[in-house]
């Protein structure tokens, strides 16, 4: 991928906590102190995720599973619109 394309993609990436509710996203990167824990429960790169609610603890579904996670964890997940 060219540098320009990489830049464009980075710009459109959001963290899961910034993402708007009711939309589908694809996980671009999981980065932060809890990344292993997040990957283990299903927030792996490439996976599709739908955000359901906002708030202190947000709800989302990954492959048909409902998961609740706190904001500081959601901050460690970067997504792009799917």
């Amino acid at each position: 991928m060219s540098n320009l394309a990489l830049h464009l993609e980075r710009d459109s990436a959001l963290t899961l906590s910034q993402a708007s509710t009711g939309c589908d996203f694809q996980i671009r990167a999981v980065d932060g102190p809890a990344c292993r824990q997040l990957r283990d429960i299903g927030f792996c790169e490439q996976m599709r995720v739908r955000k359901l609610t906002n708030g202190r603890n947000m709800l989302c579904t990954v492959c048909g599973t409902r998961l609740a996670l706190s904001k500081d964890l959601a901050d460690q997940i970067q997504v792009i619109p799917a």
Binding site: R36, R39, L59, C63, G64, A68, S70
Partner: protein, 661 residues
Amino acid sequence: MSSSSIEAHIALIGNPNSGKTTLFNALTGQNQKVGNYAGATVSRKSGQFFTPHGHQFEVIDLPGCYSLSPNSPDEEVTRDFLLGDQEGETPPDLILCVLDATQLERHLQLLLQVIDLGYSVVVALNKIDSAEAQGLRIDPTSLSEDFAVPFVPLSALNERGIVQLKQALRFPFPSAPGRLWKGPAELEESIELSTKVAEEEGLPKPEAHGIQRIACPEDADTEAEQFIVKTRTEFIQRAVEAGLQRPDGSAQDFTDKIDAHALHPIKGWFLFSGIMFAVFWTIFEFASIPMDWIDGAFGSLGEWVTSKMNEGDFQSLIVDGVIAGVGGVLIFLPQIVLLFLFISLLESSGYMARAAYLMDRVMSRVGLSGKSFLPLLSGYACAIPGVMATRTISNAKERLTTILILPWTSCSARLPVYVMLIPFLVTGSLSQTAIMFGIYAVGTITALLAAKFLKPRLGATEPPQFLLELPPYQKPQWRHVFHQVRERAFSFVKKAGTLILGISILLWFLGTYPKSDSDDPVVQQENSAMGRAGKLIEPIVSPLGWDARMGTAMLTSFAAREVFVSSLAVSYSADSDEPESVRETVTNAKRPDGSPLFTPLVALSLLAFFIYALQCLPTTAVVKRETGSWKWALGQLGGMTAFAYLAALAVYQIGKLIGYS
């Protein structure tokens, strides 16, 4: 070949709530506890079964884990077992990997990790009926080809596909497929090197240790780890492209509709409080009917025995010791049955995880997370499974804090004491329910405040994180719910028939001997061993408003809380000639000056003591095991007893000052 010998060991492994324990029960015909939330299995269990070919296998049910990089102590058990690091255990011959068909992409991660370790694997594709109902189309043959291991679709709950699974477990087992992906030369070299190092260290299963050390290193998030995670995810995505079709996911399903209310920031709390209040109200309102029967039955039994036996010590032992003691505790069976029924129902239906989600907001105020709520709620039934359930809490300090405060969530053993004491405070079932609710609230609030006080002092600084799977709602598994309730009820009856019977007889002896020459029962009781012991501790308990006999009953209750009720029944029954129920006996008890002993204030002081005291030696033993030190276990015992004493003291003295009697 003898048919009774075990030919191979199979380990059940899978994500939490993938149905391992249900499958284990279906395979072995056992009835282990099943919950619909992560962490129902906190330690390993084993059982045996025969395949259609006549082979006998041992199957081991391991705690659920999301991956082989452990995030909590229960996941560590599983990882160590698979790596052969668990002391006294040999690595299994085959892994039966349980995957939830409705969440295939997520659960396949664990399968790949297990295959990477070099095990022979058979996959139980569980909950296939739910997957079909959701419109998922799964092709087990295609998945079997991609992963090079057999996939057996089944529904453990409805026992569909169990025979096919047993048939797939052909002995001797197929050889392990081995790692399904390849990394760049550099990575392959380092895996090879790490395997060699493990071999030289003399570790069991060196090839498993080799890959595990690279894929899941001590210092998280290395480049190699990232590469492996990415490669595994890509492998899975390629496999599911051919083997799984999801329907268009826009339709709201049943669980979404309920969750819109159950997790709503306002409606959710109304629902939660409503459910909790209904639980406690039912325990009070409906349980009173069978309780009156039991009370009456033991009363008539006492009268009947009195009329059939000659008066004397033996009659007194049977009527005042055995019947009064055991009857005084058995009467609470209906309430314990109801409490366990509700807790099992909440677990089994999936609501428990929603309660944890709601409670996270409250728990975070005191430095805990919603994950601590599950153990704390189990603590309302019994502290021991509650302490065990803290293993799902990943943060060590949060776990220790939860263990330390857990006995302040009122367990069911306190219920008999509360139920006996509350009628001294108020009458009417609604106000009694309100008081009961208040007692649970006081215990819980103090526990939470204690957590706020303790956690920073234990050296915990990082804020709690919350990550929880919310399982879909399902109809309760009635068979398992009833089994669990039956088991609890049975163990309660067994306790009444053994420990409590023994203590009742002992108390009767201590309360009867040595005999005095006087015929006056009051003088006689003062002369007995118990009367003397009571006199000794009277100076300590009289500031609480208690008399010597309550003090003695409290001492006996350190063996088990319920004993308090039967101790009172036994020691006060000497005051009256007529056999009567516990409540009557205690209500009629008088001080030497003739004033009633159980005034509302005394009852309140006793309640305060029982809310806070840790009178349960088995809990102390489990806390020692779980925290690994006597320091915490004994500190908790001493601290809680002291706090209970001070609370009862404060209640009685302040009550007296303001003129409440």
